[in-house]
Homo-oligomer: 143 residues x 2
DNA sequence: GTATCTGCAAAACATTTGCAATTCT
DNA sequence: AGAATTGCAAATGTTTTGCAGATAC
């Protein structure tokens, strides 16, 4: 866990330029506690039990603002659902097609991709890089 | 290009267990010629000009059946759209945030991930592995 | 008091499905 | 003929948006 208490979450959000509303604090707390890469709907369904007035739109909008601020990252590991990860450090994700669990794995070196000796049976690899291509970089459109 | 003519595409589809309907042949031909990782909508919009009767549902369903047969692969590089790639060999994809182009890159070794000396500026890395985790493998539920 | 944020409902999309008509073998 | 495929329209599911009311600074 990244945060010790709600006050830490509030200060964190303030530092990121976001008002620490009750809903935002609870969503971020949820992501800090449940590091299972949940979907927006899973977050909503879980939070609505303790925060009955929360709406789905707020969950979606909040998650988007967290992504924009670099607080969390979106995972597109499955085509029909977005998942969210409070760990924004580069690391790989392994989804088991039997139990459905998504594991975090180190990305240090090539060996980790092949997962020699770890018992993970890799059937499919997707590597998506984003940034600026050599042509656009040379055109100096950006820095 | 993988195919020399339409006859080759037809035979290929037959070998994969799919009837070589005109629509399927044209969709596969399009993916073979336009290796730009198009979306279903881009394929539809382009094909409907020469095949006016083609429907979007057919494009979607055909792409799905191609994926199931292992003829093409789905890319979830962007959250709001599925893209398709006729190259099913494992390789990385680099999307430029300026021009939007998606490049194919080799995945051989770690160096390619960091793209030293290639001029690609990597700002974000997503590595998604799918398969069977050690727990499910040990339970012997599958082989 | 003014900005920002929330909840609701509706809208916007992409994708899937049911089914009758068509096409292939 | 019989099986598979298509096109249409409707359904589905996820995410976004408009706006009035509520909340925070």
């Amino acid at each position: 866990m990244m945060f010790k208490n709600l006050e830490e979450i509030k200060n964190f959000l303030r530092r990121k330029g976001l008002q620490p509303s009750f809903q935002r604090v609870k969503i971020l707390e949820f992501l800090d506690i449940h590091r299972t890469h949940p979907t927006a709907d899973e977050i909503f369904k879980s939070l609505v039990r303790t925060v009955p007035t929360i709406s789905k739109a707020t969950v979606y909008n909040t998650l988007r603002s967290f992504v924009e601020k670099g607080i969390i990252q979106e995972l597109t590991i499955e085509e029909n659902e977005l998942r969210y990860d409070i760990n924004t450090q580069p690391h790989a994700h392994f989804k088991c097609r039997v139990c459905g669990k998504i594991y975090d794995l180190p990305l240090e070196d090539c060996e980790s991709l092949l997962l020699k000796g770890t018992g993970f049976r890799v059937e499919k690899i997707d590597v998506y890089l984003k940034g600026i291509c050599p042509i656009c970089a040379k055109k100096g459109k950006i820095n």
